[in-house]
């Protein structure tokens, strides 16, 4: 079984076929994905800006990190679920799209970020409040997060503009119901 076969099998599942061929479900899922960027992605940006000492400097870091933690988790869950549905419903087109692959790599970078910085920064933000200056580890975590998340948002957009080479014999040609914006 090649990657092309696996991708085709995934997008041929009942739910994925339904989403791809639906009139309004597909754009509804896409809109929700995008709205999550606005509502919850903005909260990620704000946390990063606070950790860098650029915004919300009147309030302790712990208030920002603790106050937004659960909302960011909820947002990530919705955003990821919607993105998963969008990608798997058009897996034939996505698996060979370099921007999609790069976006998945950046998602791994998000996991690595959590693995490294969760215990050092995000689990105990009160420790940061008692420091005379924001520790370097917090600023590195925030910079990493900013770059990776903005990269993910931008790559998501660029996925739509990739055109596969026309003489690509391995890519199956499948008609889809979606409209490329």
């Amino acid at each position: 079984m090649s990657i092309a076969d696996i991708s085709h099998a995934i997008q041929s599942l009942g739910l994925m076929t339904y989403i791809r061929e639906s009139g309004y479900t597909y754009p509804m899922i896409m809109s929700t994905h995008l709205a999550c960027i606005a509502v919850f992605g903005g909260l990620i940006l704000l946390t990063d800006l606070r950790l860098l000492g650029w915004a919300l400097t009147d309030m302790p870091i712990s208030n920002v990190v603790n106050g937004l933690r659960n909302w960011k988790r909820l947002g990530f869950l919705i955003m990821f679920t919607m993105g998963f549905l969008l990608a798997t419903s058009e897996m034939d087109k996505y698996y060979a799209n370099p921007y999609f692959i790069l976006k998945m790599c950046l998602l791994v970078a998000v996991a690595v970020h959590a693995f490294i910085f969760k215990s050092k920064v995000y689990d105990h933000p009160e420790r940061l409040d008692t420091q005379p200056a924001i520790p370097r580890v917090a600023k590195v975590a925030a910079t990493w997060s900013l770059i990776v998340w903005i990269g993910i948002a931008c790559l998501g957009r660029w996925i739509a503009y990739y055109e596969p080479p026309k003489n690509n014999r391995t890519a199956p040609v499948v008609a889809t119901a979606s409209v490329q914006p």
């Binding site: 809109s31 606005a38 509502v39 909260l43 704000l46 915004a55 503009y161 409209v179």
Partner: protein, 147 residues
């Protein structure tokens, strides 16, 4: 007569112009709406409870404004890539209407309530309307490609 050649627009005659502008659009609406959402979470009584809404509004105001300026500027650039198409697009019209209402709402009622000692009920309604307005604009933006 003023003749506007669409093909002279860098958004139309370069490969990266359009998607790059969209990236600015998306990142800046995350910033502007995200900062407003933080105030809304407080108004709704659902988050950031250690801070007053007044303090949150003061601390995020400039970031919201900066985000709005970039999102509207990049939006106008995207609009310039095909003005007639957008003008006759129902989703675009709905989006712009909602945007105008949201901006006026944000700098009048929303601001006034956030700066006051609001009751939980008033806060919840004010924050709820704000969330719905801004989310509807994002939905409207995406539906431009689907109507």
């Amino acid at each position: 007569m003023l003749i506007y050649d669409l093909n002279a627009n860098p958004l139309n005659n370069t490969e990266w112009g359009f998607p790059l502008t969209e990236c600015f659009h998306i990142t800046s609406f995350a910033l502007s709406i995200g900062t407003i959402m933080m105030v809304d979470l407080r108004l709704l009584g659902l988050g950031m409870k250690k801070q007053t809404a007044k303090q949150l509004l003061k601390d995020t105001g400039l970031w919201t404004l900066a985000g709005l300026i970039i999102v509207i500027t990049s939006g106008l650039l995207i609009f310039s890539s095909d003005p007639i198409h957008y003008l006759y697009n129902q989703a675009f019209r709905a989006k712009v209407t909602a945007l105008l209402i949201a901006i006026i709402y944000n700098y009048t009622i929303h601001r006034k309530v956030a700066m006051s000692d609001f009751s939980p009920g008033v806060g919840a309604v004010t924050g709820g309307i704000s969330v719905l307005l801004w989310v509807s604009i994002v939905f409207g933006g995406l539906w431009i490609a689907f109507v």
